[in-house]
Subunit: 386 residues, 2 copies
């Protein structure tokens, strides 16, 4: 069991959003508002949760975050906005804080109103000082179709300050500015401005490098909150710990991607700049032909070549200079024989696969994460109707 | 049976590229070089077929096109270039024309050399004046994993001049400048410059609006040839006939997409400009969540809203102004009741589905085509290894 960092408590409950599993989570800073930073989806169809949280986190402080799961409250019109505001105000009233210090996030089905009476009734049971500290229970309350709760923790330097991260999300995941819902909590003392700057860098190289299915959620929300309860820390060590927790969460999300059986890590190096490396890496990790080849343990590197090749605006990429590897084994341009293909196939049948491409256009690199494409993905999204 | 337009003949044979089905096609203009135009993949991993054809069509004339199927001859190094040149020279020698008037296209597995001796032996059997005229047999010789040959024809105005189009392709299809392999033949008399201009416009609104799986082939080749045997025609009528044939081929390709059970047509109108309309339409037709919802006949319009929303740079899109329809039935913002959802579900279970989105940002429109995402796609690309 992972406990929340010092200075935070939570409340978890089932309020009947959809079924009898936990669907309401309130994470609260114990002693009033703390430094906070947020990053959100850039979707043109954002829901009111994102709109409200974006507004409330702008001043770099927050006291609590509410998560409602199993209904996204997106494309629900003015009623949906009123519902979200009522929940935020209800929680603020229970905690005795300003509603502008309460953030909200929500995921699940799009276009359906909350069962708002049930949720507001549930909110009246939120304690004035939430005292539960089990991170796994909190993460479980955020789940929609996730099969496992996603929790990661990291010490800052030698401690005692820590970072604890929670996340949810299995589909509709190609974050642009943030991922589904994730919250990174730390008991380190850090200014809001520094937290914001370090958090953005971390999200850019972790959550923004994740794609399950190329579909960008309407509800993506990433929040960082720092209680300060463990005192001040070295900034670089804080960023390293935030990054370590975020990377662990990203890998958990990729592993639990809808229908996923294999975590795919794509490393592109020898690139002109990081932007090029990321574009090529995303092209590979998002290619349904690459994803199905990994699923079938088929050492068909031609599909990786195709995915590199379709980055058509990268006219400096010369196929004669590109090197493709599965794991540590080069498959292009050095030809592999049948025996080696068999070994590579066995490697691809593992539960974590690395595709490594060197472009030969420079020195920059980027790592991205995704998963294979399986009949399980089709079953989850087609055969099971909403 | 569709016959080729006047002035063209073809030769079809099995030369043993992979199995015993036809794998070599030579289409030849009967009376020497004719007006020709070509559009090709922009992939950074193009094969020598594309490189050679791009060079040979540049002067706006060609006498013949060779298609080798079931092996793409891509990422095969200098040997692959020599192989392609040898085939082109062999065909030119049989036809008694300059090798610079012979085009070549090839699709199939990437990264494997041709069985070049067998192909060159087969080329020696090409008649000096190919006389076969059955378009379906020609299209069948181009197939790799296609399940049906793709042929379309259209009269130019009241005739007698015609356009006959052939195409192949079921996967790795999101053409950018052209699609897999397609050839449009006409017996109309038209200058190379006019043919080129009209052909480019037609390809832009047909093949370039098609996506099976977001993966762009290394081998895309679209060729137009005009024999002139039927005399001169009205230019607009020629373009209309080229467009009609191309659109029929595009729909056949989408229907035969790997694992495809449903043709999806996405119409986006009320857009700022055609570029915006196309970007949003492609976002919808490429969304795996939309594709699986159609497969499952799930009237989950929230996924269409998501796909519109993820066009994040289109900041003029206002979710309050967007209208979403399945077929002719509005599903957003006007709410639909359970009975209507049942009707929409039955509509989505049909073999052709239209998703119609009005953006409310202007007057421009674009139509694109794709297909659903099924367990058949996974089986074809994962369970069946190369």
């Amino acid at each position: 069991v992972t406990t929340l960092p010092a200075g935070f408590g939570c409340h978890v409950a089932n309020v009947g959003v959809k079924d009898s599993t936990d669907d309401l989570l309130v994470i609260a800073a114990t002693d009033g508002p703390v430094a906070a930073a947020g990053m959100f989806t850039q979707s043109r169809f954002v829901g009111p949760s994102v709109t409200i949280s974006r507004e409330h986190v702008q001043d770099g402080r927050a006291q609590a975050m509410v998560v409602v799961s199993k209904n996204a409250n997106v494309a629900t019109g003015p009623d949906g906005v009123a519902d979200a505001r009522a929940i935020v105000e209800g929680v603020a009233s229970r905690l005795g804080c300003s509603s502008s210090d309460v953030l909200i996030a929500s995921t699940g089905v799009i276009g359906r109103r909350y069962p708002i009476e049930r949720i507001l009734a549930g909110v009246t049971a939120v304690p004035s000082r939430p005292a539960a500290t089990e991170a796994e229970a909190a993460a479980r309350a955020m789940m929609t179709t996730d099969t496992v709760p996603k929790v990661a923790s990291a010490s800052i330097g030698d401690g005692p300050a820590r970072v604890v991260g929670l996340a949810k999300g299995v589909g509709m995941i190609e974050p642009d500015m943030a991922t589904m819902i994730t919250v990174l909590l730390t008991d380190a003392a850090v200014s809001a401005a520094e937290l914001d700057e370090r958090f953005r860098r971390v999200v850019e190289r972790t959550f923004n490098c994740l794609s399950i299915d190329t579909d960008t959620s309407t509800s993506d929300t990433a929040i960082a909150m720092a209680s300060g309860a463990a005192g001040s820390v070295d900034g670089e060590e804080l960023e390293a710990a935030l990054g370590a927790a975020a990377e662990l969460l990203v890998k958990q999300i990729a592993r639990d991607g809808e229908g996923s059986e294999t975590l795919i890590e794509v490393v592109v190096d020898g690139a002109r700049d990081r932007t090029q490396a990321k574009r090529v890496a995303k092209s590979i990790v998002n290619s349904p032909l690459v994803k199905t080849a990994v699923h079938g343990a088929d050492p068909n590197w031609g599909r990786v070549a195709m995915a590199v090749g379709k980055c058509q605006d990268d006219t400096d990429i010369d196929q004669e200079q590109v090197v493709i590897r599965f794991g540590d084994r080069e498959v292009y341009p050095t030809a592999v024989d049948e025996a080696e293909l068999g070994e590579i196939s066995r490697y691809l049948a593992g539960d974590e696969v690395r595709i490594h491409v060197t472009l030969g256009t420079g020195d920059a690199a980027c790592t991205v994460w995704g998963c294979d494409l399986t009949d399980g993905y089709i079953r989850i999204n087609a055969d099971y109707t909403t």
